[in-house]
């Protein structure tokens, strides 16, 4: 410690009442832990929401005809009435560096009926091979299997199955207004029942092979409504969308490439709001801590007032007294930070890699239609860990300003004479 006498005095003063120092440092360290873990949990929740909200069905990127959104009319297929070369488009989109998987889709609104029960459903035509790369809808299979391409098989949600009183192997009738104005209708066999956990999905989405749906609603094989894509990191989706918009325009199809941030603006808003809350968390936790530290430093300087009086009497400037107290506070801060980091990082590592599951305590719940599992998942955010450290040191210093000022104003003669 060759950093000058004041620094050394500050550091050594910490050792004079070790128990008090440790208790104060522990307070700051746990404050650090609380802030970093809380922010991690908030980020974890946001990440979970985005992954679930985009991963169950929508994907992080969607390509549509420019006319398709928001009405989602059956006529507005990619490339207009003539359709497009689906395979080529899929290839082009797959070639983007951050795109992981791509799935073409056809949508139609229709009735699903069995016996006396009829429910309104959203019919979603998918490629059974490509779809699992983008959405997890079919991972939640409760019974049966995915519909096979080229067959009149259909996958429905548990709630729809319950309402229709059907199960795997039973027949349902689909009726859907077709693109040519006729009423498409046909018999389908339930090949499987899924459960996504989201009630509205389980009640309304019926999944069938893309070709079968195109036949039902009189669309040519080249006519699809959507190509959904998953990307390596959800936050890379917006720039991938821009890149694809530019990259696909030479193909001569007028498409709109939208990232989840555009498709689900409420999720983006939530993520941004959560970002803003990080600093609120830092402020609240350290605002509480600052009074504890100030109290400790007041005590420490008060105990030492005779010593300080001697120093002042010997010619030490009041400014040097302030420096010594602030050095002590800074040393305390660094000690606390080291302690805090030592307890925080293992917890973060644990919660990040093996989030404790609280499903015994809470059930699944949804935010903005995204299914959230009740677990203590944290996301690393190193910049915030750094900022929190800075905030901790600032707290220690700010808390010591008043004690330092008081120490510097100790009247030497009065103090030494025992007054």
């Amino acid at each position: 410690m060759a950093l000058g006498p004041w620094w050394r005095i500050g550091w050594r003063n910490l050792g004079r009442n070790r128990r008090r120092t440790l208790i104060t440092a522990a307070g700051l360290a746990f404050g650090y832990l609380a802030v970093v873990v809380l922010i991690g949990l908030m980020d974890g929740l946001t990440a979970e929401m985005i992954e679930s909200g985009t991963g169950v069905l929508s994907g992080q990127l969607q390509v549509h005809d420019v006319e398709y959104r928001p009405e989602r009319k059956i006529y507005d297929t990619i490339g207009g009435r003539d359709g497009t070369d689906v395979e080529r488009l899929v290839r082009e989109i797959t070639s983007d560096p951050v795109v992981e998987a791509v799935a073409p889709r056809v949508f139609a609104g229709g009735l699903v009926s069995s016996g006396e029960s009829t429910v309104a459903g959203i019919l979603m035509g998918i490629d059974p091979k490509l779809e699992p790369g983008v959405s997890t809808l079919m991972n939640g299979m409760v019974r049966g299997r995915v519909p096979a391409a080229g067959t009149n098989e259909i996958l429905i949600g548990t709630e729809m199955a319950r309402q229709l009183e059907v199960d795997v192997g039973d027949e349902v009738i689909l009726v859907a207004p077709a693109a040519d104005g006729s009423m498409g209708n046909d018999l389908y066999t339930v090949s499987g029942v899924y459960q996504s956990g989201m009630a509205e999905l389980d009640a309304s989405y019926a999944v069938l092979p893309i070709g079968s749906l195109q036949i039902l609603v009189a669309l040519d094989p080249g006519r699809i409504h959507e190509i959904a894509a998953s990307v390596t990191d959800p936050w890379l989706a917006p720039e991938a969308a821009d890149r694809l918009t530019a990259g696909l325009s030479p193909l001569g199809v007028e498409v709109e490439v939208a990232a989840w941030t555009e498709l689900r603006p409420e999720m983006l808003d939530y993520a941004q709001l959560a970002d803003g809350w990080r600093f609120v968390v830092i402020f609240i936790v350290f605002a509480i801590a600052i009074f504890g530290v100030a109290n400790t430093m007041l005590m420490a300087t008060y105990e030492r007032r005779r010593e300080i009086a001697v120093m002042l009497a010997l010619g030490t400037t009041p400014f040097s007294i302030v420096r010594s107290v602030l050095s002590e506070a800074l040393a305390l801060g660094i000690l606390s930070l080291a302690f805090g980091a030592a307890i925080t990082f293992p917890v973060m590592f644990w919660f990040h890699n093996a989030p404790p599951d609280l499903s015994w305590l809470y059930g699944d719940y949804t935010i903005f239609g995204a299914l959230i599992r009740p677990r203590l998942r944290v996301e690393y955010h190193f910049a915030m860990a750094l900022w929190t450290g800075v905030a901790l040191l600032m707290t220690a210093l700010l808390a010591s300003l008043y004690p330092a000022a008081r120490a510097a104003r100790v009247p030497p003669a009065d103090t030494l004479s025992g007054l």
């Binding site: 006396e116 029960s117 429910v119 009726v175 693109a179 104005g181 009423m183 209708n185």
Partner: protein, 251 residues
């Protein structure tokens, strides 16, 4: 209104000619128009042309009705749709689909859905005969318009009525009780659609508007036109005719 309703209207309208309606309340007039138009029972053949932004098509159908509770519509052309039938029995609507040889019941949540891709809704089928029950009716205008003496009625839903319209206005010619148009407003009092009647002619022994056009306000250029080529009234028919079994056998 759908074509059955229209049919009913048509049916009702032509008989009543020359009674003195001066003292009648608005409600009585509509009731009479309704009854005359409907007859005890009826059979008709109609063509429905639907024009939308995306496609145009024409369907030919036979229509039977009995009282206010029953009607059956059987599509005979084009081939793709031939055999498709719709049965209205009370509040229920069933569609028979010949391709899969099944009947499906339209759930309450879908009553506002389009009937056979037209601008009529399933609800129109059910509510056709309920104007008197569901609405308070007043005369809004009485006098000459376009060279004819007319009434304009305004129909306001009764508080307890489960109806979708906020208001309906309805113009009827005084001398022959022929409907001229009906305008449907939503709960914000925005005009949603207009139905016009034309081509008044003698059919089945009564004067009826043989042509009806439904024009949705939010989709300019789109329309559904129904034109009757044949109507008979008070035919021999009973309730057993309006059954799911008969839906099937009719194909």
């Amino acid at each position: 209104m759908n074509r059955t309703q229209a049919l009913a209207l048509v049916l009702t309208l032509f008989s009543a000619p020359t009674l003195a309606h001066g003292q009648e309340s608005a409600r009585d007039i509509i009731d009479r128009v309704d009854r005359i138009m409907r007859g005890e029972s009826s059979y008709g053949v109609a063509t429905m042309d639907v024009v939308t932004e995306n496609w145009e098509r024409s369907m030919t159908m036979e229509v039977w009705s009995l009282g206010t509770e029953y009607s059956l519509i059987h599509i005979t052309a084009p081939n793709k749709e031939a055999g498709t039938a719709t049965l209205k029995a009370g509040d229920d609507i069933w569609n028979y689909l010949p391709r899969v040889d099944r009947s499906i019941k339209i759930p309450a949540s879908l009553m506002m859905g389009a009937w056979m891709g037209s601008h009529f809704t399933n609800d129109d089928l059910v509510k056709e005969s309920r104007l008197i029950e569901d609405y308070d009716i007043e005369i809004e205008f009485e006098g000459e318009r376009d060279g004819a003496e007319v009434w304009e009625f305004v129909l306001t839903p009764k508080p307890e009525a489960a109806v979708v319209w906020g208001r309906i206005t309805y113009e009827v010619r005084k001398d022959d009780l022929m409907p001229v148009w009906a305008r449907y407003y939503d709960e914000d009092d925005t005009l949603v659609r207009t139905m016009t009647f034309s081509d008044y002619r003698m059919m089945g022994g009564r004067l009826v508007p043989a042509a009806m056009d439904m024009l949705p306000e939010d989709k300019p250029g789109e329309r559904t036109s129904v034109r009757y080529s044949e109507i008979e009234f008070d035919i021999e028919i009973d309730e057993s005719f309006f059954s799911l079994r008969s839906l099937r056998s009719r194909r």
